[in-house]
Amino acid sequence: MSALKSVVRLLAVPALLVAVWWTATEGSTDYFWPPLRTIVGTFDDTWFHGRLTSDVLPSLLRLVAGYLLALVLGIGAGVAIGSSRTLRAVLEPVLEFFRAIPPPVLVPILMLFAGIGDGMKILVIVTGCVWPVLLNTVEGVRALDEVLRDTARSYRLRRGSRLVHLVLPGASPQIAAGARQALSVGIILMVISEMFAASEGVGFTIIQFQRTFAIPQMWTGVILLGVIGVALSALFHLAEARVLRWYTGLRRAQREG
């Protein structure tokens, strides 16, 4: 496929949607739905004169820290819970209990233990991101074929190598699904964490705009979140392609062998 063709594919629908938005709001006098022209016009002023380093960067650093921590915790705990039926049965209701509690009411409880600094905000991101990773890992590990498991046992693979060569690769497609879900959940939690005890950050800025009725600026913030989402997802695809190539190679080898 030519490069041009893939660019067209990538941009056709977004371009169409932007065009629709642009024409639908052109000449709009509704306070909360300003013309897209106005929103785009304020974008530069709003974000590119200092806020990129003073707000966007700290937010992204917290997001990355929280996301990576959630990946480690989610996959680690997921493998353990997925491999042990007893552990799964004991922990499942407890985990489901905490999973259902909305972050806006969970954050005050976290603040009791973690204070109100960056640590608390990273913790909030972890508490949101960890669920898709954990759940998918548990399901992925559970779904491993019993035959493969027996094979591994009969070859007397040690626990460590069983994990690296069998469990993680076998569960990785589903872990990848969870990791991708967690990414956008993380961005959402990044915003929510900055609703509490914050003085900088993308989320904090958007909420401030919302409260001070700076509506075009608020829209630029919403658009910025979307752009961050697309950028991070592109990065994720690169990483995922590497990890899963290793996995697909292994699967092919298993099939042919």
């Binding site: 056709a12 909360f32 259902a100 509690i101 009791l112 399901e139 074929d145 879900q181």
Partner: protein, 263 residues
């Protein structure tokens, strides 16, 4: 596993043990002085506040409103997520074209959409419903997309070369592979829907448990607030029990369930 020799303990018993452990922890942490009781009261005082609430009709009405909003929102998100997920996932061109748009829309937090929801529907339950559907739809959609991608390439090619119609392909080829992903999507979506239902009620003030939590917060009624949060958590536990039951029926043939039955 040593338990296997004497016959494994039933899942509900083990799960009950887990919850009991949580209750003990929740009683001991405030009593030990690790946190101030004023801010995190022991579970016993939360439960007594819960008993007070349960005596009032207002609580049950709020519970009903929350459950109704959650169920409707989740149902719409599930139907839309599964249908669109299968169609988009099966047609490579569609997926390539929509990928960037999906990635753009997904991380936009529902909290940022609150003023817009209120603008459209005021403080009616529909405002909250909008947030619920928006947030849980993506959870389902992405799971389904991954599920469709996991379909065996040989089966996929076969289905294509025999020119299966989409419906036939969905039933025979896609659905069996994607179902575990869909079930996980359901569980993820169900929790997110509940979270947004409560958050929407809390911030917008549409009727339900979330609004009760907001009132308790504003009144500094700490035990009453935690009592309501416990109820929300328990709804989460109940939803999972139901999801597991559905899963066991739908996935009887799948390795994840087969091994479970074999043990």
């Amino acid at each position: 596993m040593t338990g296997r020799r004497n016959g494994p303990a039933p899942a509900w018993l083990l799960g009950g043990l887990g919850l009991a452990g949580l209750i003990v922890l929740g009683e001991l942490v405030p009593r030990s002085g690790l946190v101030e009781r004023r801010y995190l009261p022991p579970v016993s005082s939360m439960l007594s506040a819960l008993a007070d609430q349960a005596a009032a009709g207002e609580f049950w009405q709020a519970l009903g409103e929350t459950l109704r909003g959650w169920a409707i929102g989740l149902a719409i998100a599930m139907v839309a997520g599964v249908v669109l997920g299968v169609v988009i996932g099966w047609v490579p061109l569609l997926q390539a074209a929509l990928n960037s748009t999906i990635e753009f829309l997904r991380p936009i937090p529902s909290v940022a959409l609150i003023p817009l929801a209120v603008l459209l529907y005021g403080t009616e339950p529909r405002s909250t419903l909008l947030l619920v559907v928006y947030a849980s739809f993506w959870q389902v959609l992405v799971q389904v997309l991954y599920g469709v991608r996991d379909v065996d390439p040989v089966a996929r090619d076969t289905a294509r070369s025999y020119r299966f119609r989409l419906l036939t392909a969905a039933r025979t080829v896609i659905w069996p592979t994607a179902l575990p992903y869909v079930m996980t999507g359901f569980r993820l979506g169900a929790a997110v829907a509940l979270i947004l239902e409560i958050t929407g009620e809390l911030v917008i003030g549409s009727p339900g448990l979330g609004r009760q939590i907001a009132v308790a917060q504003n009144s500094n009624a700490v035990s009453a607030m935690y009592a309501l949060i416990i109820v929300v958590g328990l709804i989460g536990v109940a939803v999972n029990v139901v999801a597991r039951a559905v899963e066991r029926r739908a996935l009887r043939w799948h390795p994840s369930i087969r091994t479970e039955a074999a043990v």
